[in-house]
C-alpha cells in the first residue's frame, strides 16, 4: 500500500472561482477574439435599441400631458375623442391635435417623428426626397405652412437618410426593418435548430433502419424547390410573418440534422457513454446528459451562421416581392426600391450598407463562437 495517496499526482488546492471551468474557459476564448467580442457588443446595442423602435421612431409622442393627465400614446391607442376629435385613432402629427395638446399641456416626442408607415405630407418635392444634409434649411422647410419659421420644421422632422418613393422616412424604416429581420432570423433559427437537433439525435442514437429511412426522406425533402413552393403558396394566401416563417421552417430544419447525427454516431460509443450504459442509465437520460452537450457544441458553432442565412433569405424574398406583406418595414423592400429608383442612390446605398454591416457583425460573432467552442483550445 505504499504511495497510495502519495505525491506524484496532486491537484492544486487553490480556491477557485464558482461555475463550470469549461464554460469559463470558453468565455475567455470568446473574449480573446477581439473582433468577435466587439461585434457582439455592437450587435447587441443595435438590436436592443431597435427592440424599442417605438420609442425612437414613431409618429406618436412617447409621453403626453393633456389637461393634467399623463398619457402614453406610444403604448396605448387613444381615440381622437380624448383630444376633442371624432376619429377612432389619433393622428398626433395633425396640426389640429398638436395645437390642442400644446394649449393644454406638453408632448414628449421620440427622436424621429415618423414610424415605418408614416407618409410625410410636407415634403419639399415629390418623393423620393434626398437626405436632409444635402439640402439647405430653406429647401427643407419650403412646403411647411410658415416656411423656415414653422415650429414643426425641426431636426426630428428631417429625413436624415431621405425618404423612399412613397414619402416614408428611411431612418424609421431601417430601424423597424432591422428589428423585424433579426427577430425573424432568431425565431427561424431557434425553431429550426430545435427540430434539427431532435431529428439528428434520434437518427444518430438509434442508427440502423431509423437512420436509413430518415436520411432518404431528408434527401427527397431537400430536393423540393423551396422557392417555387413559396411562389405558389404566396399566390394563394397572403404571406404574413408567421406564414412565411412556417414555410421557411419546412426546409430550414434539415441544415443541422447532418452535423448532430454525425456527432451522435461518433459519441454513442464513447467510453463514458458505455460507462453510463453499464451503470444502467436509461436511453433518454444518456441522450440528454451525455450526448446532447456534445452535439450542442457543433450546433452553437453553426447558430450565428444560420441566423445570418435566415436574415439573408428573408431579405431576398422581400427583394423579390414574395416576402412580408407590402407596407411592412423590410430591408429587402428597401433594396428593391433602390433598384427601381436609380435616381435616388441613397435608398440602395443605405440598404446595402445596413445589410452588409449586419451580416459582417454576425459572421464575426460566429467566428468568435467557433473559437470559443474549439475543443483544441477548450480542453487542451
Amino acid at each position: 500500500m505504499t504511495g497510495l495517496s502519495a505525491a506524484p499526482d496532486k491537484v492544486d488546492l487553490l480556491p477557485r472561482k464558482p461555475g463550470n471551468p469549461i464554460a469559463r474557459r470558453r468565455w475567455a476564448n470568446f473574449r480573446a477574439n477581439k473582433r468577435g467580442y466587439w461585434s457582439l457588443w455592437i450587435f447587441l446595442v443595435i438590436f436592443i435599441l431597435t427592440l424599442g423602435a417605438e420609442f425612437i421612431a414613431n409618429d406618436r409622442p412617447i409621453l403626453v400631458s393633456y389637461k393634467g393627465e399623463l398619457l402614453y400614446p406610444a403604448l396605448v391607442n387613444y381615440p381622437e375623442s380624448k383630444f376633442g376629435g371624432f376619429l377612432a385613432t389619433t393622428a398626433y402629427r395633425d396640426p389640429y391635435i398638436a395645437d390642442e395638446i400644446a394649449a393644454n399641456g406638453w408632448a414628449l416626442w421620440p427622436a424621429v417623428r415618423f414610424n415605418f408607415a408614416t407618409v410625410d405630407d410636407v415634403l419639399p418635392h415629390s418623393a423620393p426626397v434626398e437626405p436632409s444634409w444635402l439640402m439647405s434649411r430653406d429647401q427643407i422647410c419650403q412646403n411647411y405652412p410658415m416656411g423656415v419659421d414653422d415650429s414643426n420644421c425641426i431636426w426630428s422632422n428631417y429625413h436624415l437618410l431621405g425618404t423612399d418613393d412613397r414619402g416614408r422616412d428611411v431612418v424609421a424604416r431601417l430601424i423597424y426593418g432591422f428589428r423585424i429581420s433579426v427577430l425573424f432570423g432568431l425565431v427561424l433559427t431557434v425553431i429550426s435548430s430545435i427540430i434539427g437537433v431532435a431529428a439528428g439525435a434520434v437518427q444518430g442514437y438509434f442508427g440502423g433502419w431509423v437512420d436509413l429511412l430518415f436520411q432518404r426522406f431528408i434527401e427527397v425533402w431537400t430536393a423540393v424547390p423551396a422557392l417555387y413552393l413559396l411562389l405558389i403558396i404566396s399566390s394563394v394566401i397572403a404571406p404574413s410573418f408567421w406564414v412565411l416563417l412556417g414555410i421557411l421552417l419546412l426546409f430550414s430544419w434539415v441544415s443541422l440534422v447532418g452535423i448532430v447525427r454525425a456527432e451522435f454516431l461518433r459519441a454513442r460509443n464513447f467510453e463514458y457513454v458505455n460507462a453510463a450504459r453499464a451503470l444502467g442509465v436509461a436511453n433518454p437520460t444518456i441522450i440528454l446528459r451525455h450526448l446532447l452537450p456534445n452535439a450542442m457544441v457543433a450546433t452553437l458553432t453553426f447558430l450565428p451562421f444560420i441566423l445570418s442565412g435566415s436574415v439573408a433569405t428573408l431579405t431576398s424574398l422581400d427583394f423579390l416581392g414574395f416576402g412580408l406583406p407590402s407596407g411592412s418595414p423590410s430591408l429587402g423592400e428597401l433594396l428593391a426600391q433602390g433598384k427601381n429608383n436609380l435616381q435616388a442612390p441613397w435608398l440602395g446605398l443605405t440598404g446595402f450598407l445596413t445589410i452588409s454591416i449586419m451580416m459582417t457583425l454576425l459572421v464575426f460573432i460566429g467566428e468568435a463562437v467557433r473559437d470559443a467552442f474549439d475543443p483544441r483550445k477548450t480542453l487542451a
Binding site: M1, S5, N274, V281, L379
Partner: protein, 536 residues
Amino acid sequence: MSAPLLSVRDLGVRFGDADAAKNVSFDIAPGETLALVGESGSGKSVTALSILQLLPPTASLSGQILFKGQDLLSASPPALRKVRGNDISMIFQEPMTSLNPVHTVERQIGEVLAIHAGLRSNAARARTIELLDQVGIPDPASRLAAFPHQLSGGQRQRVMIAMALANEPDLLVADEPTTALDVTVQAQILELLKSLQQRLGMAMLFITHDLGIVRRIADRTCVMTAGEIVEANDTQAIFDAPQHSYTKHLLAAAPRGTPPTPRPKAIKILEVENLRIWFPIRRGIFKTTVGHIKAVDGVDLTVRQGETLGVVGESGSGKSTLGYALLRLLSSNGRIVFLGEDIQNQSWKAMRPHRAKMQIVFQDPFGSLSPRLSVADIIGEGLKVHFSHIDAAERDTRVSKVLTEVGLSPDLRYRYPHEFSGGQRQRIAIARAMVLEPKFVVLDEPTSALDVSIQAQVVDLLRDLQSRHGLTYLFISHDLKVVRALASSMIVMHNGKVVEQGPTEQIFANPKETYTKTLIAAAFDQTAIGSPPAKS
C-alpha cells in the same frame, strides 16, 4: 569519449509560460545508443522533436543543438531539410498514422530516396527491395504495392524503419517506436533496431518510458522528469546504483504483490459456457453472409467469489470484446450465468437491477469520464439509477466516502475531469464502479494508459479494494507483469479462442502452449533484468 556526433547544450523549450524542457544537455557519440527515459509530460518527446525542429511554431527554443559542429537551432530551413531524413532520421510511435494511408510502400520509401539520394525508377525500386529485406519483411518484392492498411502493426513499423534507414543516417531518433505494438512484436522490432544499428554503425537516440527496453538496448541513459535531466550515466550504472530519488522511484515502481489465492470452493459469481461473438462478413448486392469474423469463439470460463481471473492476449485477440459481452453491453451467443441467474436473454430493462452488481472500469481514463460533468455527478450517476430512494445529502456522503476510499480527497468532488491527471482519473473511474458496491468488476486494461509508477499504485488500490470488499475481478490486460501481480488464475486468448487456462503461477512456471511461451518470453525477456525481484 570521441568527438560527439550530436551535442545538446542547455536546450530549453517553452510553450507560452510553461517550460516543457529546460537546461537539457547531453552528447551522443557515433555508434552509441542513448536512451531518454521519463514518464508522460517529462519533456522527452519535446526534446527529441526539437533536434529536427519538428515542434509546432508556438514553441520557443533556446540553447544549442550541435550536430557535427553545426548548430541546428540557428540553421536555415534549406540546411535543415538536408539534415532531416538524410543525416538524422526519425521513427515515430504510432505506425498507423505515421505512414500515409493512400500511398503504397514503394512510393513512401521511394520518396525519401528521391529527395536525398536522387534515386529514381529502377534504381529506387532495387534499393527499396533491399531495404525491406534488411528490415525483415518477407518476400519484399511482392510487398511493394501494398498499402499501409494491408500490413500488420509490426510490419508498418518495419516499413517506417526502412524509410528512416533509406539514406543510412548517422543518427536515428526513435520516439517510443515499440509502445503501440504487442509484446511479441516489440521484442522483434528491438532486435531488428539493435542489429541494424550495429551493421550500419549509426548512433541512436531512444525515447521510451519502458525501463525494460532501456536496459536491453541503451549504452547510456538519461532520466528526465518535469523537463529536466535528473540523472545521466551508463545504463548499467543507473540500474545498479541509481543516484537520484526519482530514478529510484521509477525503478521501484514495477507492479508487485501477490494475488489472492484461488478458492475452488467459493461460490460461482459468473459462469460462461460456449460464448460466441461472430460478426458476419457480408458481400454482394444481396448482402449474403459469406463468413464470420470470430471475435470470441466458444469461450468457457468460471469466476469464483474473491478471485481475480486474468484475461491475457494481444490486440485483436477478443479479450475486450469478451469483457463487454459478459456485461451484456454487446450481444453474444452462449450461456452467461451471473449469481445463479441466466442473464443472456434478459431485456435491457430486466438487466438494470443486475448492473449495480456488475461494473466495468475502462482502459482510457481520458475517454471514460464525461468532460462536462463534475466528479460528484459522474460518481453519483449510478446512485441515482440504483439507489433512487436515497436523498441528495446521503448521495453526497457516499460519493465522499468512496473518493476517500480510492485515495482522493473528497474536497475534489466538485471539480471536472480535465483538472486531474491520468492516474487520478482512473481512480475516479474506479470510484464510479465501487460506489454501487458491486460484486463483480470487469477491469478492461485499467493500467495500460498510465505511467509505470502510477500503474503500481492503481494495482495496489485494486488489490486493496478487493480484499476489503471481497470483490471478484475479471482483469483484462496485455501486460503479463500486471496480471501476475493481480490475478489468481488466468486464461490466455488468441484469435478469439482460449488457448490455455489455469492458476496464474502454474501457467507462468510451466506454460504448455507455444503461444503462451512466446508471450511470457517476450514480456519477461526485457524485464527480467530490469524489474526488481518482487515476484519470485
